[in-house]
Structures are given as C-alpha cells and as structure tokens.
C-alpha cells in the first residue's frame, strides 16, 4: 500500500487537493447563495488587490482632472452657453411636470398608494472587476465604513446597474444586472406589463416571463417595478431591442441596458429608501366621490354652506389643515379638485376664471363676481395677506361660492376694502366683520412646511 502511494504520490496529492476543493465547494453550494460564510476568506484577497486598484484609479482621476480642469478647456464657453439654454428649457419642462406630479400625488393619496422614495444615496467609484469574464461584477470604493449593506441598489443617472453583493470594510462587490444570477422586477413603461429582467451567460439582458400573447415592441422602455424590494419603482432598466417567440408560451425579449454597464465609472448606492403614502397637500381628507362630483359638469355647485371657513379665508384667518394661503377643499365650489392650502402654487386652473395660482401677486381680474384677490406668499407671522377689493360692478349677491374667492361671500361683501393680517392669532380682523355662522375657526393653523408654527 505504501509503495503504491509512493509510486503515485503526485497523483494522490492531486486527488487530495481536488477532493478538498470539491468538498469546500459542495459546502458552499449547500449553504446557499449567501457569501457571508466565506466573507473572511474573501477579505484577504480583496484586501490585497483593491488597494492597488484604488491607488491607480486615484492617480488616473488626478491626472485626468488636472488635464481637463486646467489645460484642456477648449469649447467650454460654447458648452456653457448650450447648457444654459438647456437649463431654461428644462425649467419650462419642470413647471409642466410639477403640475402633473402634483395631480398624480393627490390621486395617489386618495387611493392610499405607497410610494418609494430614494431618501439617501452614497456616490462611489468603480475600481475594478471580479477578474472573470463569466461573472458580471464590479468593485466600488465604498463599503461597510460608508454604511453600505448587501442588497442595496446601485444606480447611475442612466439607469440601474446592479445590487451590492458582498460588503467589505472599504470596498464592495456589486453584482450587475447582466450577470446570470441577477434578476430585476421590471415593467414596460407604456403597457405596464411586468416581467423579470435577467442576465444571460453572455452578459446580455432578457425580459423573462412574458406570455407570447402580450404585445411588446422593440423600442419600448422598461422601468423597475419595485417588486424585487431592491430597486425603487420607476428607475430606467433598459429598452427592448428584439422580440422573438421563445420556448413554450413565453416570449424571448432582448433588452439593452439603460446604463452602459461595460463603461460605468461612477455609481450611486441607494442606502436608504422610504416607503410612505403620499400626503395630499392641504392635509384634508377628501373623498374621491367629492372630487368626481366637482369635476362633473352636470353637478351643480355646492351651496355656500361653508361660510365660516370661507370667511376665515377671506379674513385671513387660517383654517385647520392649512396655512391659509388657499381655499379649503370644502369651500371650493368652483368645480376644481381640492387644492393645497399653504402651497397654493399648485392650484390648477379653474373654469370660471376667478382664480389663478395663489402665491402669485394678483389672482385675476375679478372674474364674474368682480372681486380681485391679491395674495402674497406667507411670511413668518403672517401666513397670508389678502386684499379683497370690490370693483364697482361687483354684485354682492352673485358672490356666493366662486372659486378660490369662495371666501368672498358674506365677509367680503360686507367689507368692500379689507386688508386683514391674519395668521397671527393675536391679530384681530382689521375691520368689523359679521360673525360667521359656521363653527369657530381655530386660530392656530396646522403646521405645514411653509408655516411650521
């Protein structure tokens, strides 16, 4: 026996070494995909290799910055001009989008949708890769010391990149979405069709689990669906580039990643997400039926049963749930959805022309009732200064319930020229006003972002 072992010593050692490695591999596979139990061993290798990578990246960036920031400034002036023009265009776009966003927010709050917000991100730089063309993973220069944890989303401005896989003290291994063991919950932007985006062994992306009877076309953008609990909903994932019938009943859909995964250099790690129900601005709970009723043209205007609240607004006394800058939803009888009290710049246009976004200096020519409202943004102590001016043609009888001038019914008709200073509880109305018939108004406005007191 001894002679046999001696004769085949090399082979015996080879078999022994291979056996040990196979055994170790089997243990890891049995324990699952979690790399935590091999973390200590990996730290050694990563600790040896990554400092050199960090050093080289640092030197590369330093020399690059020196060149680009101090020497190679050709065309910067023209680029600056272009960027300024772009900013102007984007500002216009932003105004339009903010209107849409506000409306979407309001509707979501009615339906008790939960939204995910990226609350905090950590920027990181890519310093290297895993060193294998069979795995798609990269190393970034932030780790446990920067608050990173496994399964955090890694994104760029272009789209999602991957997730944090293993965290070391000062570096992290990021598994990219085109790795074959990755999976991202995704949906088609237009049709909201959901599927799973997976990596292939060749490093490509496919949209999986889409039935063959679904309609999906090349060029359709894909967004993250949020279903994987890693990537927040709505981030760009990629674009469909090819759709072919696959095996069984599913389509084979190839996807081009939104982020350039092979050239990504800087990334953001989403270290904190928040999930909350969007709060309807104004804070007041409004039934969906009320909004529908207000929007339907056949429904008559609400009777002026909210005199007290309206008077409070017109007299500058803030109403609960707002800082008094805009009409309360209940007092809004001009056929528009409830709006933000205190942040009235989001008011949509009304149908009677009597109101315009509050926060602007002049709220329109008076409209049908001949009342002009001059509103100013809330300042400390004075949540609102409202100047109600009655024009000569105004008919007091026609003032009941008209848009954001809803407060201009009894109070304004009784006092044609008032300039109340209100939100300060100590301040009394500047002029004598008839007492409202509605329940007394809380002189202390609810705290808002605009008026935290």
């Amino acid at each position: 026996m001894e002679s046999v072992l001696g004769r085949y010593r090399n082979l015996t050692i080879l078999v022994g070494v291979l056996f040990l490695q196979v055994l170790g591999l089997a243990v890891q596979v049995k324990r699952g995909a979690d790399a935590e139990h091999t973390r200590l061993i990996r730290i050694w290798a990563v600790g040896v290799i990554t400092p050199f990578e960090r050093g080289l990246v640092w030197a590369q960036n330093g020399s690059g910055n020196l060149w680009h920031n101090y020497f190679f400034l050709r065309g910067v002036r023209a680029e600056n001009r272009q960027l300024k023009e772009q900013i102007e265009q984007m500002r216009l776009e932003q105004v339009r989008l903010s209107e849409d966003a506000t409306q979407a927010h309001r509707l979501q709050s009615l339906l008790a949708f939960k939204e995910q917000f990226i609350a905090k991100t950590v920027p990181a730089q890519v310093i290297g890769s895993s060193g294998s063309d069979l795995s798609r993973s990269i190393y970034i220069d932030k780790g446990d010391n920067a608050g990173l944890k496994p399964d955090m989303a890694v994104i760029t401005a272009g789209g999602i990149v991957g997730k944090v896989w293993i965290v070391y003290p000062s570096t992290s291994l990021v598994l990219m979405i085109n790795d074959q063991s990755s999976g991202v919950g995704a949906m088609v932007e237009k049709s909201r069709l959901q599927g799973v985006v997976r990596g292939t062994p060749d490093g490509e992306l496919i949209l999986d689990r889409v039935m063959s009877d679904e309609t999906i076309a090349p060029g359709d953008p894909l967004l993250s669906s949020g279903g994987d609990r890693i990537f927040p909903k709505g981030l760009p994932v990629g674009t469909v580039i090819k759709v072919i019938p696959g095996r069984e009943m599913f389509l084979s859909i190839r996807v081009k990643p939104a982020a350039d995964l092979s050239r990504v250099e800087e990334v953001l790690v989403v270290t904190e997400k928040q999930e909350r129900e969007p709060v309807a601005e104004g804070g007041a709970k409004v039934r969906a039926a009320d909004i529908l009723a207000q929007r339907l043209p056949s429904v008559p205007d609400n009777p002026p049963a909210v005199t007290g609240t309206a008077a409070a607004v017109s007299s500058g006394v803030p109403v609960p749930g707002g800082s008094g800058a805009a009409a309360k939803p209940q007092a809004n009888a001009a056929g528009r959805p409830p709006t933000a009290a205190g942040t009235a710049e989001t008011l949509p246009k009304t149908t009677n022309g009597a109101a315009s976004p509050a926060g602007s200096k002049v709220a329109g020519p008076g409209g049908a009732n001949g009342i002009s409202i001059v509103e100013q943004p809330a300042t400390s102590g004075d949540a609102l200064k409202t100047v109600v001016q009655r024009t000569p043609s105004a008919d007091p009888a026609s003032n009941s319930g008209s848009g954001s001038t809803a407060g201009s019914n009894s109070a304004s008709s009784a006092t044609p020229n008032v300039t109340p200073k209100s939100a300060n509880p100590a301040a009394k109305p500047a002029t004598a006003q008839p007492k409202p018939t509605s329940p007394p108004v809380n002189p202390h406005p609810a705290a808002t972002e605009d008026n935290p007191h």
Binding site: Q21, L25, Q28, V29, I49, E53, G131
Partner: protein, 172 residues
C-alpha cells in the same frame, strides 16, 4: 516547430525568488481585475491562467504546479461573486498537467508554448464549465469558435509573457 521529447538529464528545472513567486501571480490577478474595465477586449485574457502555466512548466514539479494552480485559482475565486473553488479546481488540474508535461517535453520554444497554452486553455475551460454547471448550477454556454479564438489570443499573449518572465528564472 517540434515538441521534442527530452530525457531526464536534458531537463532544466528552474526556481524563482520569493518576490517573483508571490508578486507575479498577484500582479496578474490585479491586472485581470483592473484592465478589463478599461479595455473591454482584455476580458478574453486569463492572465492568472498564463502565469499558472508558466510557473508549472518552468518548475517541472507536479506537486509544486498543482499547488501554484490551486493558490492562484482560489485567489481568483475570492474576487468573484460565485462560490470559491471553481477556478481553484480548474487551475489545479492545469498546474498539475502543465508541470507534468513540462517534465517530459521541451516547452522552451515559442511554438511548443503556443500549442501547450492553447491546449491548457481549453482544458481549463472544460473543467471550469463542468464544475460550474455540475456543482454550482451556473448556466454557461459553450461556444467552440469563441473558445478557440480566446484560446489563441491567450496563447499569443502567453508566448510574449513567457519570454518576459523567463528573465526571472533562476537555475537550480
């Protein structure tokens, strides 16, 4: 360019200083991790494999070769996201095979090195795929055209690299 069979007396066994023994594999691992992010086409190269083959052939000692391969392979595994041991097993086999071959054949000339490197690249890929699919359940697609092209690229780079590393050889 013939691969000549040599007698035991003709075989020269080399050794390397400790800095070279440790530094060259580490440098290969570092470059393997660093360069493909900057130059994508370099991802076809497997520098740790080339270094494994070189040391194994130069030392001509199967035990030394298999341990060199195991160490480099395991280190490469540690940098990746998959379980540790896939590259380790593949490079252990290559290290053993290359050193065994180096003990019997003259692998000092460029042609022999080219063929040997191409052959061991394919062996390495075969073992890696077998282990990855059989044990770790990874889905890997084998393409002969890609495999042979990558093997040729590695062999060409390997020949140049071996001549560079020959300068660190020390006669025993």
């Amino acid at each position: 360019m013939p691969i000549t069979y040599t007698s035991g007396e003709q075989i020269e066994v080399y050794r390397f200083s400790i800095p070279v023994t440790v530094g060259v594999p580490l440098l290969a691992l570092f470059l393997q991790a660093f360069l493909p992010r900057r130059l994508t086409f370099l991802s076809y190269l497997d520098l740790p494999l080339l270094v494994t083959i070189f040391f194994a052939m130069a030392r001509r000692n199967p035990i030394s070769g298999l341990f060199t391969g195991a160490a480099i392979g395991l280190m490469q595994d540690m940098l990746g996201p998959y379980p540790i041991g896939i590259y380790g097993i593949a490079k252990t086999v290559v290290g053993y095979g290359a050193s065994s071959l180096g003990a019997k054949l003259d692998v000092e000339n460029a042609g022999a090195r080219l063929l040997v490197t191409l052959g061991f690249y394919l062996v390495h890929a075969a073992v890696y795929f077998t282990v990855a699919r059989g044990m770790v359940n990874l889905t890997l697609n084998w393409s002969w055209s890609r495999g042979i092209l990558a093997g040729l690229a590695n062999a060409l780079v390997g020949v140049a690299l071996y001549f560079l590393l020959d300068k660190f050889k020390q006669r025993t």
